[in-house]
Symmetry: D2
Subunit: 347 residues, 4 copies
């Protein structure tokens, strides 16, 4: 059994990790830390876990995280980088659900997150936890920076277009019009995500600049091996879970004959968690609710020069906790889908 610790189990990615790990056949939940909730049984905060998780939160200094095999950080940005070096030194692997180990360029990190990076050497070693792109590196990694929820959908959605040797689309003018459920904003007391503010409402936000833009650009450039230009417009949907990314790319004249449906199917052949749907499909976010699946549909309206790629995922699973477990499975030599084969909940 893998001994797992969680730092910061009081947010949405934390409780989602608990939901998945409590049912994982190879995991023993060993410690969950929260300074504020020290001593409180986890199931008192989240009654959904009554009967499934018997642990209590404990203050970090009591938690003996160093006896774990792996520690997940479901914390605000900045926490994981402060604690990772000591854990790694003790032989504990680290999976960070926040942004501390996503951006390879320290200056970029500091610009977008407004804090100095605490351990650039660990950052250098860290592997970006997107298994469909990075599987072999993840297997050998000691520390994982998990992708953000939006970046997962954008990277997997654009990857087949960019991963070919030659350019198929105008890579300097990619557009991602993304829509997220409100849980993406986290379990924080804020006015703009109150039900009475966000329900029966729709809006864009962060059009001027969003932290997931540099992360996605970095990832897409790594896939393409070239510079790319991306415009990313996030929107807030009055729903709890789910991301729907509508991606646009202009087909280059020399690629007009490409069978893009076949290209996507081939690219993701054999992937457990990526489903390229039949032509003409319109994936719904609920078709992946509470599951680690990501679904993609490829459209070319009226056979024209604009590709429209539709991508859905559950932001808390494939966009966060589930992807973390998927990485953990790889890092510990388990079948990649262990504990992650839940059927989506519909309706």
């Amino acid at each position: 059994m893998i001994k797992v610790g969680i730092v910061g189990g009081t947010g949405y990615t934390g409780v989602e990790l608990l939901r998945l790990l409590a049912a994982h056949p190879q995991v023993k939940l060993t410690a969950i830390t929260s300074r504020k909730e020290d001593g409180l049984p986890v199931a008192d905060m989240f009654p959904s876990l009554r009967g499934h998780v018997s642990l209590a939160f404990s203050a970090p200094e009591k938690a003996n995280l160093k006896e774990c095999d792996v520690v997940f950080f479901a914390t605000p940005h900045g926490v994981a980088m402060a604690q990772a070096p000591e854990l790694l030194a003790a032989g504990v692997k680290v999976i960070d659900l926040a942004a501390d180990f996503r951006l390879k360029d320290v200056a970029q990190f500091e610009k977008w997150y407004g804090m100095p990076h605490a351990c650039p050497d660990v950052l250098e070693e860290a592997v970006y936890g997107l298994p469909e792109v990075n599987r072999e590196a993840i297997r050998k990694a000691r520390v994982i920076g998990l992708p953000g929820c939006y970046p997962t959908s954008m990277q997997l959605g654009f990857a087949p277009l960019l991963a070919q040797g030659r350019q198929l689309v105008n890579e300097s003018m990619l557009i991602a019009d993304c829509k997220s459920g409100v849980s993406g904003a986290g379990r924080k007391a804020e006015v703009h995500t109150l039900l009475a503010e966000a329900a029966d409402n729709f809006k864009a936000y962060g059009v001027k600049g969003h932290r997931h833009l540099p992360e996605t650009t970095q990832g897409l450039q790594a896939i393409a091996g070239r510079k790319i230009g991306l415009t990313f417009v996030p929107h807030l949907v009055p729903m709890i879970r789910g991301i729907h990314s509508t991606l646009y790319a202009t087909i280059l004249p020399e690629a007009r004959d490409v069978d893009f449906q076949a290209l996507y199917e081939k690219h993701f052949a054999g992937e457990t968690f990526v489903d390229v749907m039949p032509p003409g499909s319109h994936p719904e976010t609920r078709s992946v609710r509470a599951s680690n699946k990501l679904r993609i549909a490829v459209h070319r309206p009226e056979g024209g020069d604009l590709l429209v790629i539709l991508v859905v995922e559950d932001n808390l699973v494939k966009g966060a906790a589930g992807q973390g477990v998927q990485c953990m499975n790889l890092m510990f030599g388990l079948e990649e889908g262990t504990g992650l084969m839940q059927v989506p909940v519909l309706p």
Copy 2:
């Protein structure tokens, strides 16, 4: 034109007051105070008011509230009682949407609101602002304590039963199973009213005791002229606006022949804002959305001994801001419905 000031215009009852008063033909909005937002145009915080309200928030000390004819307090409990005496002394009428002037018994106020009362003499003078019960007193009042949202629906729902000379129902065992939209909790940053917490969810709360219980008991006793016993169970509905109160009362044997439908219709005959629906109706909260109407349906399942009264209102209008404007109209000798005849918004 009535010169109107608003203290605390940044919450939901505040913005609703602004919506109603901006369109009121006899009102001139004169000042809106907020220490925190001093100088910010109101329409910058609430873009729905762009083109309708040109005022900016101003710090209280700059606001010249004493030049108003009436000041509404859409503030947390405790603010109105601190400022009312000075305004009254300057000849300004006061309408408090919070609880400072609701409970006539100072000890009760202090028990349920956890603070001493600042002006028991003003409290004694204050009139409870429920026009359908208290119309004449409101006309002459200088200071109004507006009913809470739940208490409005419970009192108007039970009133016809209790206002008769003789007892018709077991008045010691009244039950009010009430359901409210989330805006009733106010525009405060809190976790439990986040969309990701409160959507697709339903729960009771405050079963042990809720501040609206003593207020409603006081009101029902005033209507009945007798002691009554009430159990009040509030629930949170995943919607923005609306209260639905399902009221239960056991018919006394000697009242089995009463025509309760006729009793209700007669009791509310001529009321502009109370609609007793035809027998067999199931009023929906959306049928009063954004309007000052309250609808009631009277049921007696299988002709048995239990009366089931269904009441709907918009918690922000008839349950708060609209009722305040209704009182203002009475206090200034206007037609009671002035500025309040909006057609409900459906769907």
Copy 3:
């Protein structure tokens, strides 16, 4: 492996059965019938099942249901009773999620469902599928009439009060104020359950009489061994899944000293799927979302004579498909919780 057939897999209880059975370790899904969708892969209608269910719908006459060990009917009322005799004769067990085998009194059935009963002898043999009340009979049953969604919550909520030898509450004046998510109305094209009708809205319905009233009365009387009187008021909540029943019962003077919390805890001790929460709890429907758990909290406001019992369940799981699987497990000698231990999905 148990060979399972499903008749009518295109509604919400059908797709929920598929979600649960596809992951059940002892089940082999053998046939799903739908005349209208003959030949359509199930996963084409419900993309959430892509990769989990490879079956296609087949017309009933092609389906070879007689080779199954058990057949679930997730059909409109009237279908199961037409087909059950032939299946039973072939040695196939039958579990009906509709109402054909709920009401023991044929006249009652015919009154409330408006059709003659096709097989009163099978009805007589049928066992009411509420394991916490009826476990031993279910183990031996050949045909199960599964409880409705509301009746499950009302019966388990009142059971501890009524199952004692002596009367503790006024059993002639029980009240159930119940609230259900919209999936309870089924996957039928109807105006009143459209999102634009039912969202941001709340209403009661069926106050004059609802089919779940005679069923619940029958069940409560079986538990009590006495006549009981129940008023049942259902309401529609703008959410997808979940039932919250708020139950009221007046404590008899001679029972004022009973420790009702202890009574409930003792009554349900050892039950896998009933969770009596700590005193003061307010269970939320989302705390059981997508799981077979039912949670109960016992309140006695101000220590008075009115008991308030709060009950939550997922109407599609413990209120339908999950309870069906629970019964199947008992009928085939499996551990009662097999395939039903999913952690609820929150948020």
Copy 4:
């Protein structure tokens, strides 16, 4: 007073017309037809109108529509064109909220709507009812084809870019990523718009082709005086009302110096119902809920070559009934905003 008739008042655009017209100071509601609901008081179907609309539905042949000054058609496609000639001959003006008089090219109409056009001569005379583009023609029109909900937002959003003499953006590669509340699908009994299907969910639809594409293309070409190329991707948002269109256009090198914010402000200066918001704004759909306002924000992320235009409207008001009333006001020489100055309902 203008005598107004409505054909087909049982859908969402119909009830919205009733809400607006019942409060319009210059309108006398004269007849509402519905063959199916003949004799039913309108307020029995829509209790929100109790006390505001006393008319009953009447069968078309009883309705005396010819005595009206203007008749609105809130009907399925095909109804208005069958009745318009006779009404026009009787001197009655016609405003069609459906598509019969939108597409000027009969062949296009027949292709997209699958029926022959009943009166091409009336179609030729008909004026496209978008006042901000077509005001003078509307004033003189006898018959109006009102724009669809999506097309209103797309045309007003792109208009300032296309209405200049010279090309500013790549007009062959315009993108409109649009999101609509569910009321846009109408008040029809259908599965895919049930709350249990559409809530907590997000999806695109009609990517292959949507009827609002040819209409919008026609409108944009009329504005530009040139051919344009548009890709339109509609999405369904789990909310009742509101459209949010996110528009993308690539700035041509020779237009990089244009001040697009100023361009938009100037283009819409003086418009009562178009609000160009300050730079950096993110308009929300609720900021126009239940009002005839449309709000626009202009973004140019990172100062690059892609313009991102955000547009919000209430699909039932500015996208349908409100725009119809706006046209009626123009046709009868009233102030354009008469009866349309409602403050948006927020929250």
